[in-house]
Symmetry: C2
Subunit: 158 residues, 2 copies
Amino acid sequence: MKKNRQGGKGCKDVTQPLTVGQVAKRSGVAVSALHFYEQKGLIKSWRNQGNQRRYHRDVLRRIAVIKSAQQVGVPLSEIADALSSLPDSRAPNSGDWAKMSQAWLQDLNHRIETLTKLRDNLSSCIGCGCLSLQNCRLRNPGDSLSEQGSGARLIDPD
Amino acid sequence: MKKNRQGGKGCKDVTQPLTVGQVAKRSGVAVSALHFYEQKGLIKSWRNQGNQRRYHRDVLRRIAVIKSAQQVGVPLSEIADALSSLPDSRAPNSGDWAKMSQAWLQDLNHRIETLTKLRDNLSSCIGCGCLSLQNCRLRNPGDSLSEQGSGARLIDPD
DNA sequence: TATTGACCTTAACTTTACTTGAGGTTTTAG
DNA sequence: CTAAAACCTCAAGTAAAGTTAAGGTCAATA
């Protein structure tokens, strides 16, 4: 009878740790990316006797969050910040995740809003024939320029 | 009486070409970025006798589109594709812009949809306590995995 | 006219997010 | 037991989107 890496063939024991290859396969990210995320502090692992990485199951949740956030353009550094609010010592529970998700929801809502404005402005402005950007909301959907300090950036200084 | 670079102080003659510095100031992007965009085929210029760049006014429209698209995460290569549908030989008219905007509208709608799904999934899933990603829509909002070929990437193969 | 400010080119550097390769160890399967 | 598959580290390479620097030219003005 052959033995599987962890507990025999067909093992679905949720308490068993995962190898890096298993995490890669199940999450859809490359092993090299997992190494990279670990280096950046986005995920964690411990080592077995042979110095190989072992992961808790909930690393899959973390990776899900990482990939989701990336899909909407959040840089890894910000994701790391958000994830750092999760507890290290114990497995995060649903309350932890929910708390963390509040920040994401805000961000998502903001992004959706920006996109929607942009789309509407695009519809109304792109064909308007104005040659000046002076009043063109396309260039400045919502409030993006206000973050860059004062100065009439788009307005002819003459 | 002093003379300005083009037609005297306070000139607002819309028919006059712009220098790279003027474009930079009015669009809010660095001169180096303008060089870079030109190199990538996103914008165009001609040269004066002294080999300095001169721009048509409508380069400002192009830059507005470039910045807007970047704000929502579209890579420059895609922006270049879209912009290439505008005519080179004559100044784009509102019909040209409108035509081009159709593609963006589709893309924007798709992005908005993806984000909205992600947000809703986040609300319903993040606190659900599921330890497996098997059915977790967070990891796979909409149809993103389907682009990567077949194979049950997220599902335990055992 | 002379000097500054704006411009030119080319090359190298930066950051983010990874991938690839080299060279070596561990684990699993037959 | 042994070969293959999976894993390890570290260094270097890649792509995108620019920025910075060096060395030189052009243009506007006091």
